[in-house]
Symmetry: C2
């Protein structure tokens, strides 16, 4: 199943068969179960996660206890708290498992060993970092739009998430309550 990762790498850089074979050793494989936490608020995020199977969610809990979803991750997606990793500061995020499955995790130290071993992977990593930056940028624009447009854009961009996730999780990603989302959907269905 780790092939999902090597495929992802090969989409961006070229590797020899021997290099491909050396990659898995740098990662830890973790079977995940629903409700499991990969990161808890207050901890320093030590890993980059790569989802092999299942669905994870990165969210923060605000003062009123409301959960704001930052990102979902499904098969083939990376997920981490960049700010916590980079500055080694306690994370504001929780990362938990919505759908059981399997993930890969790698520490910063291992990642750098991997870069030394296989420089092409460093190029891959930087490409991924840039793409994730572009995605964050889109998310910022997204959050400035009215709720109904956010919902439409979400459905268009991530149809597979829309059907896979419970509505209240989608609402928490859109930045609205589940009740408001229910009413938005109703309104759209009518028209």
């Amino acid at each position: 199943m780790i092939q999902l990762l090597t495929d992802s790498i090969l989409q961006h850089v070229a590797l020899t068969e021997e290099e491909i074979a050396r990659i898995p050793a740098y990662f830890e494989t973790v079977k995940t179960h629903r409700g499991q936490f990969l990161l808890r608020e207050g901890e320093i995020c030590r890993y980059e996660f790569f989802v092999l199977k299942g669905c994870c969610r990165q969210y923060e809990t605000d003062d009123a206890g409301k959960e704001n979803v930052f990102q979902f991750s499904v098969e083939g997606w990376w997920m981490t708290d960049l700010d916590s990793m980079l500055h080694e500061r306690p994370s504001v995020f929780n990362i938990d498992v919505l759908e059981a499955g399997e993930i890969l995790q790698i520490t910063k130290a291992q990642l750098h060993l991997l870069f030394q071993d296989i420089p092409a992977v460093e190029r891959y990593y930087h490409i991924i970092t840039q793409r994730s930056g572009a995605a964050l940028q889109r998310r910022i624009l997204f959050l400035q739009k009215p709720a109904i447009e956010r919902y439409r854009e979400f459905v268009t961009r991530y149809p597979f998430l829309e059907t896979r996730l419970p509505q209240h999780q989608v609402a928490a990603y859109l930045g609205i309550t589940k009740e408001s989302l229910s009413r938005l959907r109703h309104k759209i269905a009518r028209s």
Copy 2:
């Protein structure tokens, strides 16, 4: 004045005097005047910008004509449309000059020549990219908070911008109208 850039680089990586001397040639210096556009919506963003002096603003205009500010940049800050640069797709952003001054600009091609010439600059660039990713991440969390907290956080994090910018620009960054910001400020002042 280009020393602002080399200082920024030297904060993160080590360079020899000769290397420092080779850097300016890769950049174009542009004197900016108020109202000038560095990037217009619909164009493909070809440059990374580095502000030497003055203040720039990156914003998008929504369907209703409202301007949403994505980012301000002052002395020593980088600014670009990552998504447009990376995917070579038309930008949704405008970048214009609020305060006259001077900027450096560099194309992707020149940047890669610079990386080949001075590999340490590539490391600097990746550090900057990561930090900017962390900043984008914070901005996403920021946008999910209520307006009054967004304003407080803005003032705390960027006190020098709060005083330097007209209020309606700050409002457009916070994602509220200038009237709402005026009222928020009034409310805070009273308490």
